[in-house]
Amino acid sequence: MTATDSAVRDGRRAGKGSDRTPRRRRVAQHRWLPYLLLAPAIIFELLVHVIPMLTGIGISFLKLNQFFLRNWLEAPFAGLSNYHYAIDVNGSIGKALIWSFVVTIGFTILVVGISWVLGMFAAVMLQRSFRGRALLRTIFLIPYALPVYAGVIVWKFMLSRDNGMVNHLLAQLHITDGHTFWLIGNNAFASIVVVAVWRLWPFALLTLMAGMQSLPTDVYEAAAVDGAGMWQQFRKLTLPMLRGINQVLILVLFLWTFNDFNVPYTLFSASIPKSADLISIHVYQSSFQNFNFGLGSAMSVLLLLFLLVVTGVYLLFTSRRSRRA
């Protein structure tokens, strides 16, 4: 920011020079120019973020169902009852929401953890050049480049009980009898974790590969001379030097996975099995299938509060740790 400061100051100082009028006009012009440049962004931020968010908070206090959809401003005031229903563990709605929340947390931890480990493993393995490295890099990135629904729809086909490749393969390897249901019941959770990891880990790889490119090679050479093995080099050099990137990466992976709608919606359509009842689908169903928009909004607001707290704590924790380091 200091460069900008001095640029602005220079501009002002120059205004006191001999050719006053044109320079001063230019400085004045620069004062409102940033706002002019920002105007489109501000208008659209208001339109797609600020106003909808305020509206959403407002709706969460209304008893809004399909009868009031066309004139929702006239929907009766519900006070905090939507919030009460959402978190009341004695009621069926509250119980289901908490279950869905627990499933989502488990799903998120597994998917982020596995994706990070796979991405880190592949990034380290691809760090040194060998024959076929460029080809592998390209192959690994394809799941990320594919449109989400196209990649996930193939998994849906692969996991189908009678026509699917997964059951066929497992039977050929004599692991199962080949008649397992993967998309309903308790197996659905494992299925969606695998599919989400397949789709997400290339992003971890991409980010970590880019981060490793910037690491100095001479440190590794020095470590090797001192007799440090691969594992030690990874623990003592790579991990600490990538700390900043990892902090951003893990936060982004967490938020994407927690909020993910595309993968579960494509894999299960709207009839999601209980074992994989992810929260974004859960809220979607409350709003657009049960037409309880007020309740759906209250759930969204609760989610938002949760994400704010988690992100805040995470940022506080990581920034304090890196400052101490």
Partner: protein
């Protein structure tokens, strides 16, 4: 540098497994798209009983795929271009000037990225319905409406990334342009934008790809005429059966443009992501 044998073994085994995991769905997609319907309706087979390109012909007639395709192109391209354009101006302002409200703007943009899409979907839906009633202009169900909703995720991302990218461009270049008599807009056009090309390209590809794969807004904000591929592809499943060979053929067709574009521009994407996100 010397590599131990055990390390080489780990590398070969690990990378082979990851390759199989990555490629299995692609193999299924391609090979099933070339199978006759009877082949995909029974137990899975690794090799088609006989190869046929018929599914690639049929996909266009079973559902109005061409229309969904053009809807997806129009919506994704507009959303990407629109958000990149808005983001270029905004990021230039944030990166190069100090002004009142800058922190508020930055924090708003940054924080909206973490919110679940469902949070904006419902209010936007209701607002669109209301605007439609008040003005007669039906945003809900139109491509314009969908493009606007896609800005909820592409705009904050674009601004965030481009501010990071513009910050890496030395201010000295701006100063030099100023000495040469260029105004701020001239500087943006002939100095900052060319220098930030990789970042701008990366943000554009990313926005396009995300829009091309989006299903949440598309499932609520479209009607029969504005449906995108993400929702349209479901129509290969009927009450009676699923035309899996056509689903696979269509998935391949809709993936090719994005994957080819991604692989061609991958270099920019890696460069842009690193410079913008990892500072």
């Amino acid at each position: 540098m010397r590599e131990s044998t055990s390390f080489k073994v780990i590398r070969v085994v690990g990378l082979t497994l990851l390759t199989l995991f990555t490629l299995a769905p692609l193999y299924v997609m391609i090979v099933s798209g070339l199978k006759p319907l009877s082949d995909v309706q029974g137990a899975f087979s690794w090799i088609p009983s006989h190869l046929t390109v018929q599914p690639f012909v049929d996909i266009w007639h079973t559902i109005p795929l061409a229309r969904y395709f053009s809807n997806s192109v129009i919506v994704s391209l507009s959303a990407a271009l629109f958000s990149v354009l808005i983001a270029i101006f905004a990021s230039y302002a944030v990166s190069r000037w100090n002004f009142r409200g800058k922190q508020v703007f930055r924090i708003t943009v940054l924080s909206t990225q973490m919110f679940p899409g469902i949070l904006f979907l419902l209010p936007l839906y209701l607002i669109f319905v209301n605007i439609g009633q008040a003005t007669g202009f039906a945003l809900q169900g139109s491509r314009v409406g969908l493009i606007i909703t896609y800005l909820t995720f592409s705009l904050p991302f674009s601004i965030w990334m481009l501010v990071g990218y513009f910050d890496t461009i030395p201010r000295g270049l701006d100063e030099a342009a100023k000495v040469d008599g260029a105004g701020p807009m001239r500087t943006l056009w002939s100095v900052v934008i060319p220098a930030a090309k990789p970042g701008i390209v990366a943000v554009g590809i990313y926005s396009f790809m995300t829009a091309w794969g989006e299903t949440l807004f598309a499932s609520v904000m479209t009607n029969d005429s504005s449906k995108t591929l993400a929702i349209g592809l479901r129509e290969y499943s009927t009450q009676i059966s699923v035309y899996w060979n056509q689903v696979m053929a269509a998935s391949l067709v809709v993936s090719v443009p994005v994957v080819v574009g991604f692989l061609l521009l991958q270099r920019y994407l890696v460069q842009g992501l690193t410079a913008g996100a990892v500072k």
